[in-house]
């Protein structure tokens, strides 16, 4: 139940934002940062529940750090050039994260949860790209 609820958080964020946020790149980018933060929170909850191994936790946390740094770089690129291709690096980074780090998770339920949240992150980035 807890995992199902945690998986709802970024989806809820995106849904609420669709009704309450202006459709600017800044608000879309805010959704990306919030979704990534929620994904990390969910992974930590899974790790604390011993549904993610320590080695998997290490790989995933290193991935979150890389993704957050990439997200900041995307935002800086948008502020400088304001072109959709700024987001491509972020999308590629998430897809790489899903293909490598997340695919290595042994627990099928944990893997599914993190994949679901990762896809929400891709949706956030796609929304951001469309806003440019």
């Amino acid at each position: 139940m807890k995992l199902k609820i945690l998986s709802i958080i970024p989806i809820l964020a995106l849904t609420l934002c669709a009704f309450t946020c202006s459709h600017t790149a800044a608000t879309a980018s805010h959704g990306v940062a919030a979704s990534l933060n929620a994904l990390q929170s969910a992974e930590i909850a899974l790790y604390n529940a011993k549904q993610v191994t320590p080695s998997e936790h290490l790989t995933l946390e290193q991935g979150f750090k890389t993704l957050a740094q990439e997200d900041k770089a995307v935002r800086q690129c948008i502020a400088t050039t304001d072109v959709p291709s700024c987001v491509d690096g972020g999308i590629n980074a998430v897809n790489s994260f899903l293909a490598s780090g997340v695919n290595g998770i042994k627990n099928p339920d944990s893997k599914q949860q993190i994949q679901l949240l990762g896809q929400a992150l891709v949706t956030s980035l796609t929304t951001l790209k469309a806003a440019l």
């Binding site: 809820l12 946020c21 929170s41």
Partner: protein, 66 residues
Amino acid sequence: MAITVQEAIEILTLANTLAPAGVTLVKNLATDLQGKTDAEINAESDAIDDQTIATADAEISKLPLA
């Protein structure tokens, strides 16, 4: 995705008890971003990413494998 009020309350409760970073998300959801400038929103976004990075560093440092 439609959720019930009870589920929303459970999300808020879990965010407070299980995922401290989730509290930031909930607070951000309650914030009207339309009243802020792009620069202010981007500053908030950078702060969220900085928190993600700091949390990752903290989690990694707790692992014996690190």
